[in-house]
Symmetry: C2
Subunit: 235 residues, 2 copies
């Protein structure tokens, strides 16, 4: 079997059957996502789903965000990864409860895994109510864009080293997100990255997208990011 | 339906059915991959499948490689992308025939798409025999590792900005590859990337892995890479 994602191969004999299975699986995911949202609403938490390629700086962003906000709000983190447990350990060092969900080969989180993660987070931390729960998705710009996890806000990240053509090349991630974070802006002098191109292409795909630029290393733009998080929590 | 990869959601009612479908799809892919290898062998070409995250420098590596080798061997390129046609245009500017295969949402190439790409490449370029065919997979470190395309050599790339923890986090890409390229080494002074960690973790997963370091920008390490390509063509 395809133990990474079960991706389908276009094939006349099997396509119809595959489509049917996938449609029912996606419908089941959406149902579970709606239940997750009710669960989150009941505990008064806003959930943020972070999606990006590997290495765009999601975990580093969370480390710095927790440092800045841990005294004013209750933060929990669900870390998605294919195999390792490293990221949750990094988050816990910043003083926030974190659970690591390993997907066992799959290239994205789904609503069922997040449902388990939510219960595990409450149970292990002995905390019933969070103000905000960050969900760090598996590093992948493609499949996570298709799966509603029950989040209130989806944020897509692109780091400067990845290139400003990424919105045009991975449109669904930008169409399905509410915000777009351009990260590692301290590296702009060393890369042929056009902030203008990235913004224009992203806005073409999704004119309602909120776009922020920041560097976790220098702190440039970080205050705007923190304001955005505070606003989401207030809603 | 799941239009990006048809990823399956673990679910008791549907898992068995999904696994069956995926097993037959993967078996069909392997069969087609074997046919692709016969097709390539018949034309005397070696095929190299490049897999990596988005933005690791696959297209830039190919541009520089073609510049250096176009006078001594016949090079063709199959570019895999989800939506856009940009990369093939960049390759053609370097004087090599290139076809762009868009996957229509899927997060990886499969053997059937590459089969079509091979015929299209021969037809459009009016070239029957190539010495080497590079296949640039969709930017994704997860699913491409599962799909044999009929290539002779699979090469996984990690660029310095992505971080040296990538082998441990995306093991299958390293287990299934013959070579590992560490790219953008000119950026080592600006990143917390440990060449030692990347190599050690990769070798733990796959002790037979050939590891090369290079910078397409400065040309450091590029001669070793070209020697490796020349050796593959000679085989």
């Amino acid at each position: 079997m395809c133990d990474s994602c079960g991706c389908h191969i276009p094939d006349h004999e099997t396509t119809t059957q595959t489509v049917d299975v996938h449609e029912s699986l996606l419908a089941a995911n959406t149902k579970q996502a709606d239940e997750n949202r009710q669960h989150l609403d009941a505990m008064g938490a806003v959930a943020i789903n972070l999606i990006s390629s590997p290495g765009s700086g999601k975990t580093t962003l969370l480390e710095h965000t927790i440092q800045q906000l841990r005294d004013e709000m209750k933060i929990g983190v669900i870390e998605g990864d294919i195999e390792t447990e490293r990221d949750a350990a990094r988050i816990r060092k910043q003083g926030a409860p974190a659970v690591q969900i390993t997907t066992g080969g799959a290239c994205h989180l789904d609503a069922r895994l997040v449902h388990k993660g939510l219960h595990q987070l409450q149970h292990e931390s002995n905390v019933e109510k969070f103000d905000i729960i960050f969900i760090e998705n598996v590093g992948n710009l493609v499949c996570p864009a298709t799966f509603d996890l029950g989040e209130h806000e989806r944020i897509v990240l692109v780091s400067v080293p990845e290139g400003s053509d990424k919105p045009a090349k991975y449109p669904k991630a930008f169409i399905s997100s509410q915000s777009f974070l351009i990260t590692k802006t301290d590296l702009l002098p060393y890369f042929d990255f056009s902030i203008e191109e990235a913004k224009t292409e992203a806005m073409k795909l999704n004119p309602a997208l909120k776009i922020l630029e920041l560097s976790s290393t220098t702190g440039n733009g970080f205050e705007n990011w923190l304001s955005h998080v505070r606003q989401l929590v207030k809603k």
